[in-house]
């Protein structure tokens, strides 16, 4: 009996090993066929490392001969694929990393041949674009660690975005706007928690209702009040870029990490704080216990309901910050349905990040990268219709969700009601 299961396990393992190897070899071949064939020998790709208007020390741009570099990347992919098939590598993360890195880099080398491509600008915008996704993901992490699914992040962010811009415009202070966004986020999340815990409403259904309600109420307010009022309600300005003295002078890293606005910094801070809270404090231990085995936690004297309320509300506040990003953090005005699925992408980032804050942030960065890549490629005039490039983040989400979710393990009691 044990033998046969072992064997089945090893065949499955073998099959996965082979399929990963094949995927890498195919990637190598694709790099060759798609990019190397279409690149003239002697073409140069320039990766700009300086961002216009940043405080960083100037460095010379990175100039790469395109064709040899593409050949090298194809070779790396094929070689690691062959090695994988022959020997097998334990870490699938590395394999996916190699696969993505070789393909994307080769794509950029080809796309930007004979042109200049600002790498620093791209990384910087990746980080910025990852911010709302990361905040949505953090909202998901903290609620689901206490076993409450909050699929209404999208709706919460939309409402918070509107509240932020209106209150900021009326009061004239961006901080008031941010505070109101946080409060409204917490309020809606509290409502979600209340009907889910007190009335045992299906958590996903409640989330969907919040999304519908959010779309409706923001569009209603927008077309009933904001359009007529114009700038009086809907022009707040945005948080200024704060350059951290000293650190922002570092080339490449400086403009990417240390010249951002308040919300971007706040996000990074939240990731760290939440990681510490979740894994190194009694509160975090209780939260995780409530998410994994509420009955056991209850037996040991943890107030399951209270933990769930608190976590969901904190999550909503974080989503509120995410909503504020859309208006007072980036463009300074509200447009209908401006969140454009970012909340859901955030949930995918949460799953990909295995329900922990740092993982969620890392995967948000990948989505942010895909998002900003698409914009840069339009500027480069890559011969692909822009609509297809715009699909990239959504396709990446699906691929990631498909490839990873089987191995990602949600909190055991996730989505279940708890009755004493």
């Amino acid at each position: 009996m044990t033998n046969s299961t072992l064997e089945i396990g090893s065949t499955a393992e073998k099959r996965r090993r082979i399929s990963f190897g094949v995927a890498l070899v195919v990637t190598g071949l694709a790099i060759y066929l798609l990019f190397a064939v279409n690149t003239q020998p002697g073409a140069l790709t320039t990766f700009g490392l300086n961002l216009l208007g940043s405080r960083a020390v100037e460095v010379s741009d990175l100039v790469v001969p395109a064709l040899p570099a593409i050949y090298l990347l194809a070779a790396v992919a094929v070689f690691s694929g062959a090695y994988q098939m022959a020997r097998g590598v334990r870490s699938t993360g590395w394999l996916v990393g190699i696969l993505a890195f070789t393909f994307v880099t080769a794509f950029l080398l080809w796309g930007a041949r004979d042109k200049s491509f600002n790498l620093t600008g791209m990384l910087s915008s990746s980080l910025v674009r990852a911010t709302p996704i990361a905040l949505a993901a953090l909202c998901g992490v903290i609620s689901e660690r206490a076993a409450v699914i909050n699929i209404g992040v999208e709706g919460i962010m939309l409402i918070a975005a509107q509240v932020a811009v209106v209150t900021a415009t009326v009061s004239g202070s961006l901080y008031v706007g941010l505070l109101c966004a946080i409060l409204i986020g917490g309020l809606i999340a509290a409502f979600h928690a209340f009907i889910v815990i007190r009335f045992r409403v299906d958590q996903v259904v409640s989330g969907v209702a919040i999304n519908i309600f959010g779309t409706g109420v923001t569009s209603y307010i927008s077309s009933r009040f904001m359009q007529a009022a114009g700038d009086k309600l809907n022009n707040s300005g945005t948080f200024p870029i704060i350059a951290i003295p000293g650190l922002s002078k570092i080339p490449v890293l400086g403009p990417v990490l240390f010249e951002n606005n308040l919300i971007v910094y706040l996000t990074i801070l939240l990731v760290i704080v939440m990681h510490i809270l979740l894994y190194y404090t009694p509160w975090g231990l209780r939260t995780r216990a409530v998410g994994e085995h509420p009955k056991a936690a209850d037996t040991l004297g943890v107030n399951v309901y209270l933990m769930r309320y608190v976590n969901v509300i904190i999550g909503g506040m974080i989503a509120g910050i995410g909503g504020a990003y859309f208006t007072i953090g980036s463009v300074g005005r509200f447009d209908e349905i401006m969140t454009a699925g970012k909340g859901f992408i955030g949930l995918a980032a949460m799953i990909f990040g295995n329900w922990n804050p740092i993982g969620a942030y890392t995967s948000s960065l990948i989505f942010g990268f895909a998002d900003s890549l698409q914009v840069k490629l339009q500027i480069l005039r890559v011969p692909i219709p822009s609509e297809f490039l715009l699909m990239a983040p959504y396709i990446v989400t699906m691929i990631i969700l498909t490839g990873v979710v089987g191995r990602a393990v949600p909190p055991a009691a996730d989505g279940q009601h708890y009755e004493k």
Binding site: I149, I151, I195, F199, R200, V201, D202, Q203, V204, V205, S206, V208, A209, I210, N211, I212, F213, G214, T215, G216, V217, S219, Y220, S223, R224, F225, A340, G341, F344, L347, A348, I351, P385, E387, F388, L390, M391, Y394, I395, T397, M398, L401, T402, G403, V405, G406, P410, D414, G415, Q416
Partner: protein, 391 residues
């Protein structure tokens, strides 16, 4: 003895049915009351607004009487047609809702949450439009079914992808169907600006040929068409499929308890793919009905709002095909009337989304309604609508 128990069960059934119908009715009522409060807060008169809503959805009763009088005295139909116009327009609005609601309801029955009706709707509409305008010289009897089939197949394909990913890899359908929505929107942007663009300036498809149009029942401008009856037929077909066939039983078993179904030898994977394909097909048919029956062309934002509305419909109809038809009619009247309300009482049509969000919450939490209206608790099995992140 058997007689009394039979009577008792009959009585029980009747009271169960009553509460089954009472809760949705009260939920809608509560939603409307909250909507009235929102209107009041916006500084308009809710009674006036709802009056405009009623006239927009059912028509003015006085006009109808007048129309009938002219018809019987002179045989002139124009006034009568004008009087029934709002009512038929509501039925026209309800038609895609029936299809889309059935799509989500079918998913719920198998424990799948199809948020992708909107994308499937769009793809279905595009496929139907393409077949409708590009193939020439076919008689209607061939062309129309072909165009309908194209829409159903397109939607089915769009629904099948998340179904397969769910079944094979355990990727959650909620996120994937939403991603498929956005992919569908981008794809349609490209198609409408490129390959499928008509000769004009606007990014819309050419008009479908007359041979692919769903025939209209009344003379213009009444747009009431065959699509409504096809929708009713589809509802019956879904009912028959779910409750009278083995496959339908399997699907409901998988939805009720996947582990038990698997243990009983049912293929969960096959059922997931099948249901998502069928659900996608139904949502695609919604797009088909709209393009072939009403608009005859497809433009950007063609499917906007239908996905979320469909969820509300399925919940309101308790995932039962006939319940879906009833709630689709209700939504048809609301939406169609809201257009009139927007122009008469300056209340943005988005008020309907607000009401819908509230109605969904009330439906999903019958306890709130019972608590609000002090109703007695009815003990019954609760149907599981969704479950976690898969696996």
């Amino acid at each position: 003895m058997s007689n009394t128990t039979a009577l008792e069960t009959k009585e029980k059934k009747r009271s169960a049915l009553r509460s089954e119908l009472l809760v949705p009715a009260l939920a809608v009522l509560s939603g409307l009351i909250l909507g009235a409060i929102v209107i009041l807060v916006s500084g308009e008169n809710p009674l006036l607004a709802y009056g405009a809503l009623f006239k927009g959805s059912f028509g003015n009763p006085l006009d109808l009487i007048g129309g009938l009088q002219t018809y019987f005295s002179t045989g002139e139909t124009r006034a009568l047609l004008r009087a029934i116009y709002p009512f038929t327009e509501s039925l026209v609005t309800a038609t895609p809702y029936i299809f889309a609601g059935l799509s989500v309801a079918l998913g719920f029955r198998c424990g799948l949450f199809n948020i992708g009706a909107e994308g499937q709707f769009f793809i279905g509409a595009l496929c139907s439009a393409f077949v409708g305008y590009s193939i020439q010289g076919l008689p209607m009897i061939v062309h129309l079914p072909l165009a309908i089939l194209a829409g159903a197949l397109g939607g089915a394909l769009w629904g099948m992808v998340p179904g397969y990913l769910k079944a094979r890899f355990g990727a959650h359908e909620v996120v994937n169907t939403i991603m498929m929505n956005w992919i569908a929107f981008r794809l349609s942007d490209w198609l409408l600006n490129g390959p499928m663009k008509s000769s004009g300036f606007r990014p819309v498809t050419p008009n479908v040929l007359a041979t692919a149009e769903l025939p209209r029942i009344f003379p213009d401008p009444l747009r009431f068409n065959l699509g409504f009856f096809i929708a009713l037929l589809a509802a019956y077909a879904v009912y028959w499929f779910l409750f009278k066939t083995t496959l339908g039983f399997e699907i409901r078993s998988v939805g009720a308890n996947p582990d038990a179904a698997r243990y009983a030898g049912m293929s969960v994977i096959r059922n997931f793919v099948l249901v998502m394909a069928l659900a996608g097909g139904l949502a695609g048919m919604a797009g088909t009905a709209q393009v072939l029956g009403v608009d005859h062309w497809v433009g950007q934002g063609f499917s906007a709002g239908y996905g979320f509305d469909a969820i509300a419909l399925a919940l309101l109809g308790k995932s039962h095909p006939f319940g879906v038809v009833l709630s689709a009619l209700l939504f048809g009247f609301l939406r169609s009337g809201a257009t009139n309300m927007q122009s008469m009482a300056r209340i943005p049509i988005d008020i309907i989304s607000i009401i819908q969000g509230m109605v969904i919450i009330f439906i999903a939490a019958p306890d709130i309604i019972r608590w609000l209206y002090r109703m007695r608790e009815v003990k019954k099995e609760e149907t599981v609508l969704t479950r976690g992140w898969g696996s």
